[in-house]
């Protein structure tokens, strides 16, 4: 009988248990508790503060669904990328797959997590920290975008969920998106991870509606991620590009001309499936009126 377990609580009345085969590395940083394990089902997996961040089994599903729908839809193809969060280096890895990218700035708060990732998560970052287009900044994303004078074509928010008591909730507010817009080029686009439409549909919907206040073209996608035991959501925004209206042919053309490394998950059919929202999600997104602001932010249920 199995005996070594991660038990993740989605709500106080629901938990999922995954057998741990072994603990590979563990570290407590100033900000969080980080553990790399081998799961029986998923293989290597990164756990931060008791939440599975990603596993070898399907990290590509998460990271390709985050980056490519917006990356492909931008016209022209992005030259400059800004990533907030994304400690594993896998979001960076996907961004660097675009021939057009000349610079990718990644801003993460937790230096020790980055060190941990560099040493332990090679299957994730695949050397992308050493790419000469990469600029790594240890610091607060909020500060960075207030101070920088650079402008970006593609902004990727690969952040922890908006938790009560954390500061990450600020990175999901209207005010923050307005600030972000100032560091974006006119035809640029943005994507944010948008929590789980199965466990926090109202937060997912609020992220959509909040971005709608700031950008003219906003679309929401979702996919099932086994390592998260449920659906996961993404919201893309731009004043120019609209991923949800791209034709399959156009997607395939752009993948061929723009991307220089193999994709494991993303293709034109996957693109269509990402934007084919089932009725309850569609309805929630369409009818939602809740906006997240500094004065009245949204949180995922603790």
């Amino acid at each position: 009988m199995s005996w070594h377990w991660l038990i993740e609580w989605q709500t106080p009345y629901e938990f999922h248990g995954h057998e741990i085969k072994r603990v590979i590395a563990e570290e407590k940083t100033q900000y969080q508790s980080v553990m790399l394990v081998e799961f029986t089902r998923f293989g290597k997996g990164l756990i931060i503060d008791g939440k599975v961040q990603s596993t070898i089994y399907d990290e590509h599903v998460y990271h390709e669904s985050l980056v490519h729908p917006i990356g492909i839809s931008l016209d022209p193809s992005p030259k400059s990328v800004l990533i907030l969060g994304g400690g594993e280096g896998a979001t960076l890895r996907e961004a660097l797959k675009y021939n057009s990218v000349e610079k990718a700035v990644m801003v993460d708060l937790d230096e020790k997590v980055i060190e941990f990732a560099k040493n332990e998560l090679k299957e994730w970052h695949m050397g992308s920290f050493d790419d000469n287009r990469t600029e790594l900044i240890i610091g607060d994303g909020l500060d960075y975008i207030k101070k920088t004078n650079q402008k970006f074509d593609l902004v990727i928010l690969d952040l922890t969920d908006p938790l009560k008591g954390s500061t990450s909730y600020k990175l999901y507010t209207k005010e923050f998106y307005e600030d972000l817009k100032k560091v974006m080029n006119k035809r640029g686009g943005i994507v944010t991870q948008a929590t789980s439409p199965s466990f926090s549909l109202e937060v997912y919907s609020a992220i959509y509606t909040t971005l709608k206040q700031v950008f003219s073209k906003v679309s929401a996608s979702y996919t099932y991620i086994a390592s998260f035991d449920g659906l996961w959501g993404f919201v893309y925004a731009s004043d120019d590009a609209d991923p949800s209206s791209l034709s399959k042919a156009e997607i395939e053309n752009r993948i061929k001309s723009r991307i220089n490394s193999p994709l494991r998950w993303y293709d034109s059919d996957t693109h269509i499936s990402l934007f084919s929202l089932p009725k309850n999600i569609r309805k929630s997104v369409a009818e939602n009126t809740r906006i997240s602001t500094e004065a009245d932010p949204i949180y995922v249920p603790a």
Copy 2:
């Protein structure tokens, strides 16, 4: 802290726990152990032998995804329906929504479960057992299709998973599908629940490939079902109708003209999302060569 739990084991190294608020009814029948509970997250839920069968929260997602993609695609609209399994009466409920249906025969093995459903699962069957088009037969589906001289337009297999040691595995074999074909009208269609593409993708794929041996048009769909903590799959087959190629306009037209009661989940967009398989599922279905036969049947992992 919550203390009354259903713990469902998806594999020996993965379990999901759901808090039970109260037990409404419980019964051990000759064949199975049946329990109706109120879950904190899902509301009323039916548990058979420790597996969540369906809950008020999303039984409509399961039952509408099972019945309507094939029901709508048949031309002409079905007059006669055969349901094997489907004890809750909700599959019957969906089938009876078609104006064209004149007769719906439901065959279920376990009389006590049917009695239980009639008394306790009114939100599921909504009186469909009393519809004068319904004919209920207590017995073995395998026997029934060998003896009946009726022919059906629509056959719905709402069965338990093919478990080792059970007899239900026979209802997923090539030989069984061949027998079924003999009780179907030429332009008729069939659907079977096809287990979980997240927990048993190889079984899902084998059901697809097995039906391909017997019918010329076969398509696979999937959706996320929160009550099952994962994806669920369906396979549709016919020599005439192909749900995966219907246009959105045609779907909306047929819903309007054929269906006389509200649908909660199924519409043309949901139809598209059901057939938008993500890459790994697409690949598994396309590349699978495993066929289930009486001599070499497939099973879900116990």
Copy 3:
């Protein structure tokens, strides 16, 4: 694989799971949530608010350890008994085994629990509610002892643990014990369940020390109770009788002359084992200075 579970949290970092075979009866009263189940390991068990109260497997260990060490040590044998709590009726059952008992008053707050016990817990009370020496009073024990003009030889406190936010904590304070003393005869004795020396040793010890403030002879006992997954404690107090100093011969004599029904657990050797405290418990009791008062009550950790 088992799927229907009681999960009891001893602390936020420890839980014990017991498989439930079936739920026999369930009821929400004004005060608590009551459930009678059949456990695979223990057989029938009563659960109140997620805590196992007692099971057929070893309720006799608990109830005989509560009643008889003090009942046997009183001289003369008790005529009048007061029980506060004890809803199952098993404490009453044990008290009525003394030939000398002429009256047993039982005071319990929750009428519905008593009704539940009368109907469902016959193996516990064994008809003792119908004994003509029994007087059952629905009401608050605190009120009762302030108003009654009766005096008792034996007082048995079979109460829920002193929980923060409950009112039961008052029934473990010095002030309450002083009030109780006023309704006791001079040579009478008292016993209280005293929580778990394995999970809340400091509470167990404080109950001992608090009773020491009010009575001259106080002794503490303990035993292992499988249904509680740990040790359980009892404290006995009197100005006259001292259970911990009785000889084995005297115990056996008194059992023979005083008790008219079989005992399943209690005998002179069990008596010795109850008072043979291991070193850590002995030390905690001896060195404790904490007293529970209305102004500064003790609680078990929630």
Copy 4:
């Protein structure tokens, strides 16, 4: 909410969960999987194959209860000690506390576990591996006692439970005890850990009865061990010494004259409590007729 857990299955229908704060070291040896963790409740704890072996919280309860009741009762005080198993080095530590001990031979199968213990379990062995009276032999205890020409005053069996499929079950049979007797001095004594009287009372009782076939004076003890979530048992045997009949005064005298380091748990009152068996255990030991032999061995339920 806690998320990193050891879940120990006492039976297929009972589990206990303990929160793990961190994993300190982990190793797979040829024979077993070894993990040193920090538990929230117990502090450092050693886990082998999913079973808690001992924790800093109460390893002294286990090891002192194993060694001293027989060590103290031997007359004269033991000079030569043989330990089979006992990888942590804590049994060795207790044996070396006797002034009289001139030689302690410890035989353990798993060299890597010994290395692990030497490096990681300093709070357990406290340097006893380096005591110049210690002789450490890596090998099979069964072989050792067949080949050695030494004789011992005190033999301590600190072995894993008799599990089906393991070879340790041989070390609980009548034939093994007969072989052991040949390497013991006339007035010597033996102790074996005897599994849990709460989870496997019939095995505990059978160990007692089996030793009774070989030695004239056999006694059984038990105590509660929180880290094991239940009672634990020990059986002592000799043709000369009888721990269960020692007076408290004699015990205290011998502790003073024979033992040169502090004891944390064992004293004369603890000795009495160890041998004060509650009624059900007494009865099981007294009435048991099951003997473990090579042809018909006993096992703990898997």
